[in-house]
């Protein structure tokens, strides 16, 4: 799970075997099929389950135009939009988490934990503060900018020699950075009534905060980011061999890093603008994916983008069912599950050199 942090020789050995044998084509095809099936089932579940649960036949009736008006309202107006949001946000966070874990060489990297989401939030808040009314595209643009600045800071830190040697230090750095950004955001929000009004509903990540039109704005950006991350996977695989080896193989290391940074910002900024800060999804999913398909970064990125929406949907459904009447925002559910996973990872990776 943490092979990128093991000593260089071991890492290289493992990478070589991964490159030679790799996950076989059949295994990959089956994995794609399984994760797609799970995703479709969960989408249906997300449409059906909640404080007023519907049966599958009810759903079928609705899709053919029958069914009560109340059910129609619940499914098409409320649950459909949050399902779409979950798909977009999940895919964005999953892919960017996997990319960050590879580029920063850190198994604990996550856009929510390390402050990229906080940067996006700060961007949105200052956008509203400076420009007054926040149209959707202003919100998107400022979140993108905020995410980009935060990711830039983080990637620069990761290059420093004292941080490069230690995954834990760069994580602590990101957490502190995230806290500072969140504090500034809160300062802006609380001193401006106008910002407070638009902001307070997504202090914790939620899939119901934004209308469906917002998803329509976010979708092209996230899709573009996903397409780019599809292609950068192979380059990151080579980068995993170490900077020197990658250079020798004709890869421009700086180029790959910079484009990863841009992709991460492109994915996380809009996702945060859509759902607020959802932590730990980008951290947890790549680890789960690695359990099944091994350490091939290219595949980990692709499967994370596919599996993360499933996990987000599960968390969202849990949030709907767990609270008796009062719904629990998805950000809280992911934070509970993710922090437990983080603690387990830190506690039991003792012999695997999580320095």
């Amino acid at each position: 799970m943490l092979n990128r942090l093991s000593p260089l020789s071991q890492r290289e050995a493992r990478q070589e075997t991964a490159a030679q044998s790799g996950p076989s084509l059949n295994k990959i095809l089956i994995s794609y099929l399984v994760s797609l099936t799970v995703l479709v089932l969960l989408c249906l579940g997300s449409l059906a389950l909640g404080s007023k649960s519907l049966s599958l036949s009810d759903l079928l009736a609705l899709s053919s135009g029958d069914g009560s008006i109340a059910d129609r309202l619940i499914v098409f107006d409320l649950r459909f939009s949050r399902t779409v949001n979950a798909l977009l946000v999940g895919a964005a966070l999953g892919a960017s988490g996997a990319i960050m874990q590879s580029v920063i060489r850190n198994p604990i990297a996550d856009p929510g934990v390390l402050g990229i989401s906080a940067g996006a939030s700060l961007g949105v808040a200052s956008g509203i503060m400076l420009l007054g009314a926040a149209g959707l595209w202003i919100g998107l643009l400022s979140s993108l900018l905020g995410a980009l600045l935060a990711a830039g800071f983080l990637f620069l830190c990761a290059m420093l020699p004292s941080f490069r040697s230690s995954a834990v230090r760069i994580t602590l750095c990101g957490i502190a950075f995230s806290a500072v950004l969140a504090g500034i955001t809160q300062g802006i929000v609380l001193t401006n009534d106008k910002v407070l009004d638009q902001f307070r509903f997504w202090q914790v990540g939620s899939l119901t905060a934004r209308p469906l039109e917002a998803a329509a704005w976010v979708a092209p950006l996230v899709l573009a980011g996903l397409i780019f991350s599809w292609f950068i996977g192979g380059k990151l695989n080579i980068l995993d061999l170490g900077d020197d080896s990658a250079q020798a193989l004709g890869i421009s290391v700086a180029m790959v890093r910079t484009s990863s940074l841009l992709i991460v910002a492109l994915l996380c900024g809009p996702a945060t603008a859509l759902a607020g800060p959802v932590a730990f999804i980008g951290f947890a999913v790549p680890h789960m994916v690695r359990l099944f398909i091994g350490h091939d970064t290219k595949q980990v990125i692709r499967f994370s983008a596919l599996a993360a929406p499933s996990l987000l949907l599960v968390c969202d459904i849990i949030g709907r069912l767990v609270g008796h009447g009062a719904e629990v925002p998805v950000g809280i559910v992911t934070a509970v599950l993710g922090s437990i996973l983080l603690m387990l990872l830190v506690a039991f990776s003792a012999r695997r050199k999580l320095t």
């Binding site: 604990i108 420093l160 004292s162 230690s166 834990v168 230090r169 994580t171 602590l172 750095c173 957490i175 502190a176 950075f177 806290a179 500072v180 969140a182 504090g183 500034i184 809160q186 300062g187 609380l190 001193t191 307070r200 914790v204 932590a279 609270g323 008796h324 009062a326 719904e327 629990v328 925002p329 809280i332 934070a335 509970v336 993710g338 922090s339 437990i340 983080l342 603690m343 830190v346 506690a347 039991f348 003792a350 999580l354 320095t355």
Partner: protein, 334 residues
């Protein structure tokens, strides 16, 4: 007694405590003069002597401003002393109770009692103490059983803090919260509307802090030289460390009950205090923290168009300080 003679508070330490006491008093007094209701110097002294010129003046000076500043001073003292203890005991400059989940554990415990059992401040205190001690026990378990140390221990604590915050958030969604201010108190920390009721608890904490310094001050100094040497000098190492960690949790919990999990004071104050006084005396460290929190609270109240929760100010500046510490240190010991 020769080895002990150098362990007593030195003249420098006492001088610094005096200086910090005077500074704390200055902050306390000056807090009475901020704000839109103006108080003249003469009015202030008359009010303090019990001859207020108007009931309004008495209300603002004594009920609102002085008691709030006193709460800030005491809470800051407790947080800073707690931070100093955990940093020394876990041998890590970053291991303060707010980073490693003790304050958020306390906040979760307190919130749980208030929200689920509808408790008063007193029962919330027990909940908070229980939460803090639970978090401390988990960390002790991590040290003893899993042999975690250094940055990994901190990261485990960060996970613990995130979990406690998420659970508190969850509790807040499950019950009717009358105002955002209440939620803020349990999540960020705020001194809004704090006064005499909280001061009783905080003063009890300050008393514990003084007793700890008197009883364990020498042991602490010896523990700094390493467990083996301390054991050689007659310190019961394991027991002392355990007792002191519980005291640290208790102090943090008392601070949290009265003003919520105010972040980063407990991280920053011990470092500033050590840089100034060159000693890890709990009293001077506590006074530094108290002054920091009281000044932060004044900034939070009056520097912006709207008064902010003090936690926002401490997070921004304390978080910046944390980053600076990380950058400055080549290696974190452990």
């Amino acid at each position: 007694m020769t080895p002990y003679s150098s362990m007593r508070p030195s003249r420098g330490e006492i001088r610094w405590i005096a200086i910090l006491l005077v500074l704390a008093l200055v902050v306390l007094v000056s807090s009475a003069f901020f704000g839109s209701y103006r108080v003249s110097l003469a009015d202030f002294f008359n009010t303090v002597r019990g001859q207020a010129p108007a009931p309004m003046t008495e209300f603002f000076v004594l009920e609102r401003r002085l008691s709030r500043a006193a709460v800030a001073l005491c809470a800051g003292m407790l947080l800073a002393a707690s931070g100093s203890l955990t940093q020394q005991l876990l041998r890590n400059p970053l291991a303060s109770p707010d980073i490693i989940g003790i304050t958020t554990g306390a906040s979760f415990g307190g919130a749980m009692v208030i929200l689920l059992l509808g408790g008063s401040l007193a029962s919330a205190s027990f909940g908070a103490v229980a939460g803090a001690i639970m978090a401390a026990l988990i960390l002790i378990g991590a040290v003893k059983v899993l042999r975690l140390s250094g940055s990994r221990l901190i990261l485990l604590g960060v996970g613990l803090a995130a979990l406690a915050t998420a659970l508190t958030n969850f509790l807040l969604t499950q019950v009717f919260v009358p105002s955002a201010e209440v939620a803020q108190t349990w999540l960020v920390g705020s001194l809004q509307g704090r006064g005499k009721e909280e001061l009783v608890w905080l003063l009890a904490g300050v008393a514990i802090l003084l007793i700890t310094q008197i009883m364990f001050g020498i042991d602490l100094k010896m523990l700094q030289m390493g467990d083996d040497l301390a054991a050689g000098l007659g310190v019961q190492v394991t027991r002392t460390r355990l007792v002191l960690l519980f005291i640290a949790a208790l102090l943090a919990a008392l601070a949290v009950v009265s003003c919520g999990p105010i972040g980063f004071i407990s991280l920053v104050a011990p470092h500033i205090s050590f840089a100034l006084t060159k000693s890890r005396n709990l009293i001077s460290c506590g006074l530094t923290g108290g002054i920091l929190l009281a000044v932060s609270d004044l900034v939070a109240q009056y520097a912006f168009s709207v008064s902010l929760p003090v936690g926002v100010i401490t997070v921004v500046f304390g978080g910046g300080f944390f980053l600076w510490l990380l950058f400055r240190q080549r290696r974190i010991h452990g």
